[in-house]
Symmetry: C2
Subunit: 362 residues, 2 copies
């Protein structure tokens, strides 16, 4: 039994209603139902419909459920890139997407910014031959974030056929995307949706689908069971190709329903309030300093701070108070902390964390 509050950047705190929904799932034996049954199709349709409402997703977008964001990177390259992709890279996760393209035999090029720095669209030249451009709205490893307005500048910088992909793994549903300005956005449920891990959600428009179909018509292998056409043919019947993580699909529908009840505007306002609380504390702290210099590029969901005291020591101090923050990523493991501020974290919890950090490390 633990009462610890996880401010770790995913997996993180479960959304407050998850335990209750798991209870209902057990009572209704959701773990036993067939993934070809009407009951499952209803669960699938509900999750998709609630998500569409929450995100205000245009009708030309499809919603596909995969096993992780890692898988989405692979399927994106396999299904929409024949020769070349172009990647904005400023941290470990954007770098992985870039590497995946190379591992799948494509030419991957990149524009790289230093860790913890963001991007200005104006200074980036996108090769005309890039079929996919990987933008990163929120780099989970460094806390660098790209404003939606900046993302929206890319359409006119790229060839008409180029597809714009946006990594919002650890930020959706907080950024209010203009989905018409991009072609695909993806996220993982264990971040801002407060669910157990094991589900990646891929939003993609008809242009992505058409590209996959064109590649398939040319004889390019799109993979097997999780090619876009294979997934879509099942998705249209509210099903998946494989037996999926049914429990998580059920929970996703329930949690998004709860989020809609609360209201996306309230959730976004709270996100801003919580981020402000944390950044204001970091600014005056004797131990921490904001890792991302430019204010406009600071994430509101995964807040990264340089720390003088090693990250593990910070967590040792917090432990008796049942709180934990994330350590830095990779080489920054001890030199930075990462604080998740997700919809599952209440303003009060964030306030309590900030006060405790102030008291313990100044």
């Amino acid at each position: 039994m633990t009462n610890k509050i996880f401010f770790t950047p995913g997996p993180s705190e479960l959304y407050p209603t998850v335990a209750k929904h798991i209870q209902s799932a057990l009572e209704d034996k959701i773990g036993s139902i067939s993934h070809r049954s009407q009951q499952f199709k209803d669960i699938y349709a509900h999750a998709e419909a609630e998500l569409r409402t929450l995100l205000q997703l245009p009708d030309n977008y499809e919603v596909l459920f995969l096993s992780s964001a890692n898988e989405i990177w692979e399927r994106a390259i396999q299904n929409t890139v024949e020769h070349e992709s172009f990647h904005l890279v400023n941290g470990s996760f954007s770098k992985r997407f870039y590497q995946v393209s190379g591992e799948l035999g494509r030419k991957a090029t990149k524009y790289e910014a230093p860790f913890t720095q963001g991007f200005d669209a104006a200074s980036i030249h996108v090769p005309a031959t890039a079929e996919l451009v990987a933008l990163v709205q929120n780099e989970t490893s460094s806390g660098a974030s790209m404003p939606v307005a900046e993302i929206n500048k890319f359409r006119e910088k790229v060839s008409p056929d180029t597809l714009l992909f946006v990594d919002a793994v650890s930020s959706l549903p907080i950024p209010a995307f203009d989905f018409n300005q991009v072609d695909s956005v993806y996220f993982s449920v264990q971040k801002c949706f407060g669910l157990p891990a094991g589900l990646g959600v891929w939003l993609l428009n008809n242009r992505c689908v058409a590209k996959a179909e064109a590649l398939q018509a040319k004889g390019v292998s799109l993979g097997s069971y999780h090619s876009i056409p294979a997934m879509l043919s099942k998705a249209k019947a509210n099903q998946t190709v494989e037996t999926p993580n049914v429990l998580n699909l059920y929970l996703l529908g329930k949690v998004v329903e709860d989020m809609l009840q609360k209201g996306i505007e309230t959730i976004r306002e709270e996100a801003a309030t919580k981020a402000q609380l944390i950044y204001e504390y970091i600014k005056v702290s004797k131990n921490f300093s904001a890792a991302v210099q430019e204010q406009a590029h600071r994430s509101v969901t995964t807040i990264v701070a340089n720390t003088i005291l090693p990250a593990s020591e910070v967590n040792k101090l917090l432990a008796p108070y049942n709180m934990a923050v994330g350590s830095g990523y990779g080489d920054y493991k001890e030199k930075q902390i990462r604080i998740a501020s997700f919809p599952a974290h209440s303003v009060e919890q964030v306030q309590a964390l900030v006060e405790k950090l102030q008291e313990l490390v100044g």
Copy 2:
């Protein structure tokens, strides 16, 4: 709230201890822990160690956790087949594995037996050029099963470098495999392990690993994040590449621990008892007849019967008594029923099902 007993062939009844373990997982906040934490590594190591004990897995085998058996088919072809695979096909799932190979651009050849028929090793010629031979211990769609003794005859029928893969998706841990006679066996947790869906388990020996490494050295793309070398490098540190289905990994370790407590011999004896109860009833039934003619090829875990009364009508009759069987697969949806007899189903439950069927449909 439902008290229905699911005799459906997966997802199916949850193992009786699953609800209790989910409760513990919630109390210990397993859904919130980092997949890079020591706590996660312990959960991973525990699941793997318990599985190794239950299955008596030789030391030259690796255990990898993927998202589904569908994914294992794809990764198997990508990682161990450069040119050609050979498939025994006698139902929808063995056919899918065959198709996956073709979709990934390999030459896939097959030996096909009619639906509901099994295989005799003696009559099958394996092409000398086949790099992977797909055997099917239990074809979930038709209820045709291959005795372990028959599987063990293949090693001497194939080239020294050929890898023998065994589909035990809906039968492990019931068959007592001689793992030294094959190279890989795989299963899904929502069948005989009685867990919520969302995890495929891939057992593979050093010969499979060596093949993947050799292909990689030749410049063949093994995919990206889920290539065998990528997965193994993390597995050796009790981790996965992506954020995995942590909850299911936790539950798998707990359920296998419970199975070990009960004893694999008891579980296997009960499986035989339950199968006998069902087949004996089918033999005398006026409505049902065994779909698989040859007794030695009849599955003990997914029992398929031809039905005069449409399968949906059978389930309508069973519904008031809180029982459900699986419908037939694909074209056989109404013409056959499939009864799962997994470790989660007690002898008493199977007895009650058989008695109720006898009473309702004769």
